[in-house]
């Protein structure tokens, strides 16, 4: 019988933090347990001996430590109660939630007794459960072979991790291979982008830990016990990479010419082609959409490398973690008809300008208009699609466009000092060292006009750019013979697709959402999946590389440390389960799936919220750790100490809410003594029967708090509304139950909510008396 269990209570003075406010002698006198002791600093190393000796001497089955918050020292005391199961210990938080928030000694002492009593009742209901350790496979998939993906793959490979780099196009390299020149703000000089990229590319190709798969996409993904099973579809290249020596004879005999996408369509290429000079794999590829299968290449190839009959292949890749580096695309210029991009050849994007000024581009680096002349005046238009609140625009700043425009303006000025360059900007954003580059650009006689042009029209041979100069407050019409648009960065199709396939949260703009923008910038809301580069938000090459190496480092942490999981997760009774699958759809955390002939629960993602329990008509699911009974016992433990005319409000909070409540104490704010906080694993586990029981057996009010970021938030809110309706139908006052948002940083708001709710309950008590 659980009631016969021997319980020991260890009270910590916390160097006066607790004992100065709470009368510990009175506490000891009022509790009926098998052992009770008072110690100065229980968390110190000799606490281990004190607790262990008492467990042996008094044959204790369960331990309550009345001290600080479990958030501070639960792990410590779980260790100190060995050889008892770590979950046979419970902490009564008499510091953060008692001595630090109450000043009335008598009331604080009474509250401490109640809290300890609740812990005693709760710990009696505890079952032995062992923490679950998960070790995930070390293999990693990096999706996207641009500068971010390449660096992430390389960093991991150099640490000894096997990496598969999956790239959708026929070559790795990404946008950086195309941009021509890059610049560093410190050097105040532009340098060859390909020359910087090539060593990275070579290093990656030669690293034995990296396998590069091009022309390939992830089309399906499933996770089981920390292992991701990725189905990859590899489109045929129609050229045998192992045989092709990239001699190019095939291309010479190919009759079909189509716009060269690598040159942004500014030049032509054949249907059999090599994307660019340094592309990897070092082999030609056939663009089957445009190939007429004439067979010329097949006949020409001495290496017999052409494979016109290849078919798409599907392959399975099993990895423990994934780095998403699926990158960005540029704003669709169809959405800005006013700039005439589709109508006029000499209205181009910065990306196209990069190709035109690149020595490996369509004009071999010569800045020429479509008629072959050097432009006399170029107007650059900033923020095309960025910082735009009108329909079809992005509200965010794309971050790199100011410096890209400055770079390209300088490149033009170096080579063609007579060409006038005018940049129409919204605000020039050149933080840090970039500001020096901005000044350098001004000294190079690049001109600037503050204003976002409304229209570009062609009058005669020239363009007219209509713009309001917002510094002078004047309308201007600028003549130009070339217009360059600084287009916004937006999530690539691949980024959107992979987010859907892997069920990863995205921002309202469609970028992959990091789990915390400040302190967790590379983890996603799915365990084991990390993000870097422009898939996460607009950024430049340097930042992409930094985030890529950070993501690689996070994967290593994950691979070396394994993952410890709280054991309070759902379990299936296979005898009862009929495989109806009702539970699978209910799980907001997507941790359930049918594997073979049983329902599988992924311990990594299950939070023990208990939503599946309700869905299961066979009652085949249980959640480890006797949680329901523990909550009930805690409620009973609190209410059993209620005295006449004492007001008692039960507050249910999960880890996040509980931390916020602790912060009230840490910051020495206060709230009424009537507030009794009960920590639960998931707020969803507080059932209607708990609430009804509490209100019918002495609780004056029940307060349920939930973090709005929790996937179960809406569910819990609905549930509370339902319970309110039931309360009303029982002729009780539903106002005695309240639901509230809680946020860790907004602890003062939580304190105020406690005060307000207590006041309201006091008024209700007066009215209803």
């Amino acid at each position: 019988m659980r009631d016969d269990l021997k319980v020991g209570v260890f009270i910590c003075e916390c160097g006066g933090n607790i004992s100065d406010t709470i009368d510990l002698d009175e506490v000891k006198d009022s509790l009926d347990v098998d052992f009770i002791g008072q110690f100065e600093n229980l968390c110190s190393l000799n606490g281990r001996k004190i607790i262990r000796d008492a467990i042996f001497d008094h044959d204790l089955d369960r331990v309550v430590v009345a001290a600080c918050s479990p958030i501070s020292h639960e792990k410590t005391f779980q260790d100190y109660v060995k050889p008892l199961n770590p979950y046979f210990m419970d902490m009564a938080n008499v510091r953060e939630q008692c001595s630090w928030v109450h000043s009335d000694k008598k009331k604080a002492t009474q509250k401490a007794i109640t809290l300890i009593n609740a812990s005693i009742e709760k710990v009696k209901q505890s079952d032995a459960v062992d923490p679950i350790y998960c070790q995930t496979p070390d293999e990693v998939a990096v999706i996207g072979g641009g500068i971010a993906g390449m660096n992430a793959a390389l960093s991991l490979a150099k640490q000894g991790t096997k990496v598969t780099l999956i790239e959708q196009s026929p070559s790795i390299g990404g946008h950086m291979a195309k941009i021509g020149k890059v610049f560093s703000p410190v050097k105040i000089a532009e340098e060859c982008g390909m020359c910087l990229l090539n060593p990275i590319l070579n290093e990656l190709v030669w690293n034995e830990n990296i396998e590069v798969i091009t022309n390939a996409k992830v089309i399906e993904a499933e996770r089981r016990s920390g292992t991701y099973n990725l189905i990859i579809e590899k489109s045929p290249r129609y050229v045998d990479v192992d045989r092709c020596i990239a001699c190019g004879k095939c291309s010479e005999v190919c009759d079909i010419e189509v716009p060269n996408d690598w040159n942004d369509g500014l030049s032509m290429r054949k249907a059999i082609y090599r994307p660019f000079g340094q592309s990897y794999p070092e082999a030609y590829v056939i663009d089957m959409e445009n190939c007429d299968k004439c067979g010329n290449c097949f006949r020409e190839c001495n290496m017999k490398a052409i494979r016109l009959k290849s078919k798409p292949e599907k392959m399975l890749l099993q990895v423990g973690s994934i780095i998403l580096a699926t990158g960005h695309k540029l704003f669709d210029m169809d959405k800005r008809p006013e700039y005439g991009y589709d109508r006029y050849d000499d209205v181009i994007t910065q990306s196209e300008l990069g190709r035109i000024t690149g020595v490996n581009g369509p004009t071999k680096g010569k800045l020429l208009k479509s008629n072959g002349e050097v432009p006399k005046r170029i107007v650059m238009i900033q923020c095309v699609g960025s910082r735009d609140e009108k329909p079809d625009g992005h509200r965010y700043c794309s971050r790199i466009c100011c410096t890209v425009a400055l770079k390209n303006a300088n490149i033009i000025k170096h080579k063609y000092p007579d060409t006038d360059v005018l940049i129409c900007y919204t605000d020039i954003r050149t933080p840090g060292m970039f500001e020096k580059y901005y000044k350098h650009t001004q000294e190079n006689e690049v001109r600037f006009l503050r204003g976002r042009p409304g229209e570009v029209v062609k009058k005669g041979d020239n363009f007219i750019v209509r713009v309001e100069d917002t510094l002078k407050g004047e309308f201007a019409e600028i003549e130009a013979d070339m217009v360059v648009l600084s287009t916004a960065m937006e999530p690539s199709h691949g980024t959107r697709e992979i987010a859907e396939i892997l069920n990863i949260g995205t921002t309202e703009d469609g970028f992959i959402k990091e789990s915390h923008p400040k302190i967790k910038p590379v983890t996603t809301d799915v365990q084991g999946i990390f993000v870097c580069g422009t898939a996460q938000d607009p950024k430049d090459i340097t930042e992409s590389i930094m985030q890529a190496t950070a993501a690689a480092s996070k994967v290593s942490e994950y691979n070396y440390g394994g993952v410890e999981i709280e054991p309070f997760i759902a379990e299936i009774d296979r005898e009862k389960c009929t495989l109806c699958g009702d539970c699978i759809g209910k799980c907001k955390y997507k941790s359930m799936s049918i594997q073979g002939d049983e329902v599988y629960i992924d311990p990594m993602s299950c939070t023990g919220c208990g939503k599946c329990l309700v869905a299961c008509t066979q009652r085949a699911i249980s959640v480890n750790g006797n949680i329901d009974e523990k909550i009930m016992a805690t409620i009973k433990g609190v209410l059993s100490k209620k005295e006449d005319n004492q007001r008692m409000i039960l507050v249910f909070l999960d880890n996040i809410g509980y931390t916020a409540a602790d912060n009230i104490g840490v910051n020495r704010l206060s709230y009424p003594e009537s507030i009794y906080i009960i920590k639960v694993h998931s707020v969803n586990r507080v059932g209607p029967h708990h609430i009804h029981y509490a209100l019918e057996n002495g609780a004056d009010g029940v307060f349920i708090g939930e973090f709005p970021g929790d996937l179960m938030y809406d569910e819990v809110e609905r549930k509370v509304d339902k319970v309110k309706n039931t309360i009303a139908s029982l002729n009780q006052n539903p106002e005695r139950l309240t639901f509230s948002k809680v946020y860790i940083p907004y602890f003062s708001g939580l304190a105020r909510k406690f005060i307000d709710f207590d006041k309201k309950i006091e008024e209700l008590n007066e009215i209803e008396l």
Binding site: D334, K335, R336, P337, E338, K390, P391, D392, E455, V457
Partner: protein, 313 residues
Amino acid sequence: MKSVPDKNILLFRSCLVSVEYPGVEASTKFVFDKLGVDYAISEKQTCCTGLGYYSDVFNQLDTSAIGARNFSVAKDLNRPNLVMMCATCYAINKKSVKLLNKNDELREEINTLFDENGLSHLKYEKDDLKPTENIFHVVDILYSKRDKIKENIKYDLSDYKIATHHGCHYCKVHYEDTIGGVRDPNIIDDIVEACGCKSIGWYDHKRATCGTGFRQRYSNPELSFNATADKMNAVYDEDVDILVHLCPNCHIQFDRYQHLISKREGKEYKAIHLNVAQFVALAMGGDFDKVIGVKAHTVPIDSIIKELKEVDK
């Protein structure tokens, strides 16, 4: 695309249409009848206040109160779908519905005024109408009936050079409900296409205002007519025969003032001006006088359209 009703419609009359170009209303009815649209008009409906509102004669309270009254007229007829011939009426009424639904204080104030003046039957309850589901412009209905328009074309107008002008208060006020593009408006172009014609599509100043600016035409004529001249010159540069629009304000600005601006700019403008309903009615065989109402036009319609050629069936 949002769903567009074809029944329970109150065709909302417009002061400018009635006074200046009654053919717009006659054409709308003619086309609606051919397309089988279920509509009615009501004598009880009043002006939307738009011109007064934009000239600071009426404030938002008056405007929303009058809106509430007109909405009650529509509800009483069981015709909760208001369809406007004028872009001003369209934007004004949509805004009033939004305010009456969202701004509890304003709604209460208006309802109290109704109560105090023995007009309790006009009271507006929150969400009586929905801005997106109940407030439309004729152009929305025509657009949703494009396929049916195609079946009813009698005359071939495809030899004329046609440009479109999309009213600001249709396109640029309630973005979320605008069909056919906001930054690149094409709803009229698509309707013109349904009539078997191809518009010139994009042209310089396509999206610009007609220049009316309500009172600006009178208080800042220079500013107002500069804007109109930009548009007219662009239309002139493209050698346009017919400019098709959707709002009587634009219609007046172009049609009544074309000769004046022509003189000012020293250019021979030739374009005639038709509301989209008039254009469709014309293509469907509407009578020049009785339906299109050509006599109300300052730029003579027959200066361009001299004879009509039937389509090959």
